[in-house]
Symmetry: C2
């Protein structure tokens, strides 16, 4: 039986076009880009071409503003800890929304342990950041404010430009984790007013283990990985040529196919939402309109997310519950609590994130499996 894969926020397959493009960097071009002979120069050229593609993907002013990393976690660590440590003379305050991804939240907690003041901005029940609270929280001592472009668990898209205006009025760096949003909605770091932007290759159907950080020219930042001084001294380590070249191509394709992908996603998503909300005591989480086109998230009263996931897996349908990256913990989702759900409500969540390979035919069996799952679990539930 064919698997219906609906967890693209957690991991994406490598696009066959990306693999076809990147294959030569696995099979032939393996030089060290720091070497001066011809093989090294080929590797260097591949990396610079990828840099241009990623810069084009987010409309960066200059390809030099793109730094390749080992993934989104490292990108966000570099953005947050790299600016905080470099600008400590200015102050020791940092600000984040209450629904940041753990790869942003934990570097901030680490800085807090080191003495930084961390202010968490609440969100409303759709997951939109409270702009008045943000305005109050940022001070001349704040170094960096981090708000994700869109949330991976509830799909809500933030008013990035408005946030940027508030933050920039006080001369503070604005870091945006765009891992959940990139490839699904257009991102323009210049018109959005973004200083630092974290990207994941895999979320764009590129390989795992590679990511990028956009750093606006002029932003003061220091490395968190000292060594050979690659990537303008900001990210040491011999470059992952295949990974970087493939990420570049993935970004190029993601831009080119964005509208096509969006149309495919929207059709399927809206049908899924219609079908699933017919289940008794089911609710859409996140904003109904200002949400990612491939994202549908729900909660079901009186049942528990991990059981939903496992039951759906028995129907060969793969979905997520809570945050994809912390689904092995038993705590209620931080994000769902932040939008005001009670603990028992937050536990019954299901997250569907669509991808390029999903088709309308998959809607009916998915809705059917959800119905059966919820009915079965409620029968077993003590609540």
């Amino acid at each position: 039986m064919k698997i219906i894969y609906l967890d693209h926020a957690s991991a994406c397959p490598l696009d066959q076009r990306v693999l076809a493009f990147g294959r030569k960097y696995l099979e032939d071009t393996f030089g060290n880009p720091s070497s001066l002979y011809s093989t090294g120069l080929e590797a260097k050229t591949a990396i610079e071409s990828a840099r241009q593609k990623v810069a084009g993907f987010i409309n960066a002013e200059d390809e030099k503003s793109i730094i390749f990393t080992s993934g989104a976690t490292e990108s966000s660590n570099l953005a947050i800890r790299g600016t905080a440590l470099r600008n400590m003379a200015k102050g020791q305050e940092i600000v984040a929304s209450a629904i940041e991804h753990i790869s942003v939240f934990n570097p901030m907690k680490e800085l807090q342990k080191q003495g930084f003041k961390l202010t968490i901005i609440p969100v409303d029940h759709y997951g939109h950041i409270d702009l008045r609270e943000l305005e109050k929280a940022v001070s001349p001592e704040t170094i960096v404010t981090s708000v994700m472009y869109a949330n991976n668990e509830i799909g809500t898209i933030q008013p990035i430009r408005e946030i940027s205006e508030i933050v920039h009025r006080k001369g503070i760096y604005f870091h945006v984790d765009a891992c959940a949003a990139a490839g699904h909605i257009p991102i323009d770091v210049q018109s959005d007013g973004i200083d630092l932007l974290s990207l994941s290759s895999n979320a764009l159907y590129g390989p795992q283990g590679v990511g990028a950080l956009y750093i606006k020219p002029g932003v003061k930042i220091q490395t968190i990985m000292p060594g050979g001084g690659q990537e303008r001294g900001l990210r040491s380590g011999t470059e992952n040529i295949f990974g970087i070249a493939a990420m570049g191509e993935a970004a190029r394709i993601a831009k080119e196919d964005m509208e096509k992908d969006r149309q495919n996603d929207l059709k399927i998503r809206d049908e899924l939402i219609r079908g699933i909300l017919k289940v008794e005591d089911s609710y859409l989480t996140g904003h109904p309109v200002e949400r990612l086109p491939h994202h549908a998230s729900f909660r079901f009263a009186r049942i528990e997310g991990e059981s939903i996931l496992l039951s759906m897996d028995m129907f060969n349908i793969q979905i997520a519950t809570g945050s994809a990256c912390s689904s092995q913990t038993l705590e209620a989702s931080r994000v769902l609590l932040a939008i005001g759900l009670k603990h028992e409500e937050a536990h019954g969540s299901m997250v569907i994130t669509l991808g390029r390979q999903n088709r309308e035919e998959e809607v009916a069996p998915t809705v059917e499996a959800v119905k059966n799952t919820v009915a079965k679990l409620r029968m077993l539930s003590p609540l």
Copy 2:
């Protein structure tokens, strides 16, 4: 004209067997290992199998002692900064040999900037660490001592067990950067007495962008990359399944083929050394016997390494000069100065590192090209 590639310390091609093994993780198995459904579990299984292979490669007591990273630079950063920051209560001293790789040296310099006392242990003219100076340098306040297994620029192998005994007598962690040595000489972390060992996948003919750190059970260390808590909380970020699975297979093959590879290397290396030392005013650098089997390094009086490299490239022969990772800087090699060479002597260096694909037929054209290169450059030289 076919290229003769003699710079394997800088970058290795991906072994076709490794690619054949890893291909399915690029093409099919792409799940997030943290997910609970079946695709996630497959990914998790692939990672755990790779962990066993890497543990077997260095005879680690337990596969849990292997942490996968984005490469050797991150491994050494984690080993050094992770132990230093975790054990600051004990003291704030760190110790390293004078010929450490820049990926070890720079994290140590970073700690020095933060207030740690860094002691550099000199080496003799073969590159062997001065054991008496080491003995004097380590104190009860020292947290970690770092000495590479063998040096990438001069090939010299350190007396790791003797160093370990000195370091452990004072209760200090012993970190070993094994990137240059791994795959070429047997490494046994238990009988060698190693607490932390950095490995690079690419040096084992695995993909770039992945590495591992061995951490002896009981060693107190903290993460330098907070986030989702992968790799026992020591290295956050969604796992690079292809990279990790392929690194595991590369380590398994490296162990299996080590003796065969060594025999091939030794034959070619000794012929190369014999041929090249016939050039007037040429010298072998590093130890003549206690050196890596695939490694031949030289210096030529009155000429300059970068010119050697570029001239050899015109003969389609790719070699290195100075450290592979800093060959774009114009400074004399730190390593060659440390073994007592004068600046002008240190500039005329050439490093050959052999690999699985090199054959005896390549010796004659290489020696010929070196002769021509040296003669031509000396004619042009003002010295």
